[in-house]
């Protein structure tokens, strides 16, 4: 067994994810299967191989950089319309800092 219930709970806390007991049990089993399968990668020697973080795109004439120009978006009210607890021009959240 590669992964315990505690591992799942620890990772869920890191990810700010509330899980039920049943979910913890079920994900533990699935993750165990998947991580065991992933161990397959240890069959290949990757010493001296550089990691690939992003596939190389064809050369761009401007190295992907645009001019740093301020553009007005004017979407605040529209964005707030979809927010669960807006107080224009802010998003309201539960108290973070105690008095």
């Amino acid at each position: 067994m590669k992964i315990s219930r505690e591992d799942v709970l620890k990772v869920a806390a890191l990810a700010n994810l509330e899980l039920s007991d049943a979910e913890v049990d079920s994900y533990r089993g699935h993750l165990d299967d998947i991580l065991t399968y992933i161990d397959k990668l240890n069959e290949i020697d990757t010493s001296g191989v550089e990691p690939l973080t992003q596939v190389v795109v064809a050369p761009t004439d401007d190295s992907g950089l645009r001019d740093d120009v301020v553009v007005r978006a004017d979407v605040i009210m529209e964005v707030l319309q979809g927010a669960p607890d807006p107080e224009a021009p802010y998003f309201r959240v539960p108290r973070v800092i105690e008095k």
Binding site: L19, I34, L35, V49, D85, V96
Partner: protein
């Protein structure tokens, strides 16, 4: 009025120009089809009739005024629900974004509308594009129009099914590990995953940013090419979009295939491939040979490691990208006594099982002590897989094989075992990791009548070549093999 069920882009154009139908009447016809079958097939999550009719009226006004029409004038299309559309609900198939409407359009959507296309609505998909069957949608699965007790594939199942069920002329999907090509194969329609960087990702709600791409479904390869000519190209709002010139994808169509070398990877015909899929793939390769292609046996030795590398990289990126769904800015909030508790409850309640599973896996492979063993290792293996493709393209012009090892399966048949579901992504995740373009084109049906897809990979930015080959294949009767 021409009410033949299948409308292609040239058919729409001809009918509008001959005034056999107006753009408004055509939109009405598509909405009536959707109304008839959507309850059964569950393809559309949201419809946008106001915007669709307004856009159609612009085309009708242009026709009345005798103005030149843009390339997609009056063509009804569907858009996957992970692609942003201004003012049209966009949920990513998730409860966590219920009720959300983006304040802007994705670049691909903006370009299509500028070219005259009409957005009918948003299509169902696996939640946040995570899945291979469309069964992970919070709004219920899509049914495959070809066989309604079967899945349409995923994650862009709704977009593939919308085209297959004649509810749209074309549709946009997104492909991270096969999510355009595999549903294209399951529903029997051509589906292209362009090179990474060929189509702007601006407005595509991120799953795994180094892998995500937007790609089209249509009835014909020609229509896929037409849509590509509109959506491809540099966008200053996506730094990873390429400024390589966009060719006219239509000009090469119809030329003979003589002398093209097609690489057949032995590694794509190992264990796990369904006997009928193998047979139809072999028949597809034979048809390409008959059209003048030369078959070359090649090796892609790192293929067997692709699924493992993919599920490390994709879930790691997903765990980071999905951190933003926290009940602060959009979607429903589940209250908590502290900010953290509110985050945890909102996310625990808002995400479905597959998304939570992938967030947990992705967070695990990135966590202290495991980063090198998993994430870094996965990225190194990604280098080797990209190298397999590079070396193969020194010897061949295209790589040909099955899109999926299996045809569409029955709803519920594979949900119990996530790993088994992941393993079936084998032929598509390789190209996703390497960044190369791949098209799935219908290659006959199994004896049970389920479509099989033939996948043609080209080198990076080789869309022209794969479209050319797929078009020739389609015209030679590939679909009826």
């Amino acid at each position: 009025m021409n009410l033949s069920p299948t409308w292609t882009i040239p058919a729409v154009r001809a009918a509008l120009e001959a005034r056999r139908i107006s753009a408004r009447e055509l939109v009405k016809e598509f909405y009536s089809r959707i109304e008839k079958r959507n309850v059964e097939l569950n393809i559309f999550l949201a419809l946008s009739p106001e915007r669709a009719y307004a856009q159609a009226d612009r085309t009708d006004a242009a026709i009345a005024a005798g103005d030149a029409l843009p390339p997609l004038a009056g063509v009804p299309m569907a858009v996957k629900d992970v692609i942003s559309t201004h003012g049209i609900p966009t949920t990513c198939g998730s409860r966590v974004l219920a009720g959300y409407s983006p304040p802007y359009d994705a670049t691909a959507v903006e370009r299509l509308e500028r070219a005259g296309a009409v957005i009918l609505g948003k299509t169902n998909c696996d939640e946040f594009a995570m899945g291979s069957s469309n069964e992970n949608s919070a709004y219920g699965p899509v049914r495959n129009p070809v066989a309604t007790d079967h899945v349409p594939g995923g994650s862009s199942g709704g977009s593939a099914a919308a085209v297959a069920a004649d509810m749209a002329v074309f549709a946009l999907g997104t492909d991270t590990g096969g999510s355009v090509r595999q549903p294209g194969s399951f529903c029997g329609v051509p589906a292209l995953n362009p090179s990474y960087g060929r189509v702007s990702r601006y407005g595509l709600i991120a799953y795994a940013s180094s892998l995500d791409r937007i790609g089209p479904f249509a009835h014909t390869v020609r229509d896929v090419a037409t849509v590509m000519s509109v959506i491809a190209g540099r966008d200053p709002r996506d730094a990873t979009s390429s400024s390589a010139p966009v060719p006219d994808y239509l000009t090469g169509l119809g030329k003979p295939l003589h002398g093209l070398r097609i690489g057949i990877p032995d590694d794509y015909f190992g264990e796990g491939i369904d006997a009928d899929v193998r047979k139809k793939t072999e028949a597809g390769i034979a048809l390409l040979e008959k059209l003048g292609c030369r078959r070359v046996s090649i090796r892609m030795p790192n293929t067997e490691y692709a699924v493992a590398a993919y599920y490390i990289i994709a879930t790691a990126e997903a765990s980071s990208n999905l951190a933003r769904y926290d009940g602060v800015r959009y979607g429903p909030r589940v209250p908590g006594s502290t900010l953290i508790e509110m985050y945890q409850k909102t996310r625990g309640h808002g995400f479905g099982p597959e998304v939570k599973r992938r967030i947990v896996l992705g967070t695990y492979v990135l966590s202290a002590g495991y980063y090198d063993a998993y994430y870094l290792k996965g990225q190194k293996v990604r280098t080797l897989i990209a190298r397999d493709f590079r070396e193969a393209f020194e010897k061949v012009d295209a790589i040909v094989g099955p899109t999926s090892p299996v045809p569409a399966f029955r709803l519920g048949e594979r949900t119990a075992n996530p790993l088994q579901m992941y393993l079936a992504d084998i032929y598509t995740v390789t190209g996703s990791l390497a960044g190369v373009p791949g098209i799935s084109v219908p290659s006959g049906k199994t004896p049970a009548g389920l479509p099989v897809g033939l996948q043609i990979y080209g080198p990076a930015f080789g869309e022209e070549r794969v479209l050319h080959m797929a078009h020739a294949f389609e015209h030679a009767g590939g679909k009826e093999l």
